[in-house]
Amino acid sequence: MGAESPPKEPSPKIVIVDESPIRAAILEEGLREAGFTGVVHISEMQSLLQRIYALDPDVILIDLENPSRDVLEQMFQVSRAVRRPVAMFVDQSDAASIQASVDAGVSAYIVDGLKKERIKPILDLCISRFNAFAKLQDELDRAKSALEDRKVIDRAKGILMKLKGLTEEEAYVLLRSTAMREKKKIGEIAQSILTASELLK
């Protein structure tokens, strides 16, 4: 240890600008696991530029749903207010990287001076974590709608049981066979039963 290991470059300072605390935490964790120790999360958009200047980061990561992205564009300008100008976000020729990061919903701003080869792993990690978060969100949404469906189906079953004197099992079979015949989802058939029963009340 110590004498044997090559001199390590200090970990670049990374700022994550994201109003979603969960996503920021997922990204921060990933970056720390990968050995990037200097990670700070900013969730408050007021005086964003001053906060960033105070931290003086090498890399700034921001989600694309954040209107404050335009605030960061100011850092491209050479002016008295800008201490260290931001360089091109990735290599001009690296269209695939730009595409992947826009698809993932994240943008990276690299402050002048950071070497290109040190940016790539940060950006790749960022893209994969953002995609993982989107997948998680999607699964959560689907689970929520499945739960909604089940509630609707239960109420529709209740109506069928009462009106047609069916057992719960028979009510469900009727819903399912109708859905198959009409090429619709069970949830949709159940919803139309609820609507009809509202109307006929």
Partner: protein, 389 residues
């Protein structure tokens, strides 16, 4: 077969022609199946247009030029076959700054931009003397009409925008809140944000941009140059649809319907009456209810507003040079002017330029008449600037 298109926009009233073209069926009539995407930042609109996620976009005219010149970001040539509007911005100031400027105008006409700019210079000098923090002005983007209009106005009065005050980028939806909590003292932004500040009692509209420049290209319908060459028929159809929509919007009897379409939460998402006031050029400028009317507040299509004017592009490029964003070069000037494409507009509409309006005019309140063939000579007439000849 209709052509599917994805078009990005920022929820501002100068996206009216694009939104009405889609929502009122003008694009469909041209065989286009347009999906509009509401965006949150100009950076997003620019990037998504550049990489092809958008086929076209509602874009700040200077961003189209900056992208074509490779300023500040990736170089992607953009062309504008259609101008979505002239003017439409306003300079809005806090209650305190408004009172200070009125005191310094000393009975002069506060709607006269030279009088207000000189008054601002006196306010700035007094603040410096008393050791107060410099005034902070919000604008929407480094390459924005708002940035250049604010700078042009205050510099005419002797205020150096880089030395005497702070200019900061703020997303339009945050402008009003920032003015209310004293983070900024003033802002220049497109409608409806100034009206919202006035309605909430936190700001006064000091100037319509038409006080500063008679005709200022604001947003364009932007497409990638390469794409436009491969899709000439689609570009022409899009121009025709936007043109018909602008005609529809400019008919006074359609205004209520237009305002209703634009007020939809998926579109601009603000109250229909604020939108209608803006389109009518009749704005409440003070929380006390004072109204001001100016037919030039926002020109969506009338008086040749929709036809891209390369002189406007040259003026915007000259501002980039003046404030140190772009080097002065004949090649860059030519490239900037080539972004605005009246030829594509004329080809789409199969018509010669509408007679009876004055084009090729910027009509600034200060300095000599703009001459695109002598940018250096033009800029030398202005005392304040960051450029090197």
């Amino acid at each position: 077969m209709s052509t599917p298109l994805h078009i990005g926009f920022i929820p501002l009233i100068d996206a009216a022609a694009l939104i009405v073209a889609v929502d009122n069926g003008f694009t469909k009539a041209e065989g286009l199946d347009v999906t509009l995407a509401r965006e949150v930042s100009w950076s997003n609109v620019r990037d998504k247009l550049n990489i092809g996620l958008f086929d076209a976009a509602h874009l700040l005219a200077p961003v189209a030029i900056a992208s074509s010149l490779g300023l500040g970001h990736v170089k992607v040539p953009i062309v504008a076959p259609y101008n979505l509007g002239l003017n439409g911005n306003a300079i809005t100031v806090s209650q305190a700054l408004h009172a200070a400027i009125l005191r310094e105008v000393e009975g002069g006409n506060p709607f006269d931009p030279m009088a207000s700019a000189l008054a601002l210079a006196r306010v700035v000098a007094a603040r410096r003397k008393s050791g107060a923090e410099p005034l902070t002005f919000g604008m929407t983007f480094p390459f924005s009409t708002h940035n250049y209009q604010l700078r042009f106005w205050m510099a005419a009065g002797g205020v150096d925008p880089d030395e005497d005050v702070r200019l900061v980028v703020l997303p339009p939806p945050y402008m009003v809140e920032s003015l209310a909590n004293n983070q900024i003292d003033a802002f220049c932004v497109g409608a409806p944000w100034s009206s919202i500040a006035v309605d909430l009692g936190v700001g006064h509209i000091l100037h319509f941009v038409s006080d500063i420049l008679l005709r200022a290209a604001e947003k364009v319908l932007a497409v990638r140059q390469g794409w436009s060459e491969r899709n000439q028929e689609v570009v022409a159809a899009l121009v025709r649809a936007a043109f018909r929509a602008a005609e529809f919007i400019e008919q006074a009897e359609n205004r209520a319907e237009v305002a209703r379409i634009l007020s939809h939460p998926e579109r601009i998402g603000v109250a229909a009456d604020v939108i209608q006031r803006t389109l009518d050029g009749r704005l409440k400028i003070s929380p006390d209810g004072t109204m001001r009317e100016n037919k030039n507040y926002l020109l969506v299509g009338r008086e040749g507003a929709a036809r891209p004017d390369p002189v406007q592009a040259a003026w915007l490029y000259a501002q980039m040079v003046r404030w140190g964003q772009a080097p002065l070069s004949p090649v860059a000037l030519e490239a900037a002017m080539a972004v605005f494409r009246p030829d594509l507009y004329d080809a789409a509409l199969g018509a010669a330029p509408t007679p009876g309006f004055v084009s090729n005019v910027v009509g600034a309140f200060a300095g000599p008449a703009f001459d695109p063939s002598d940018i250096a000579g033009h800029l030398r007439a202005f005392a304040i600037g960051r450029w090197k000849a």
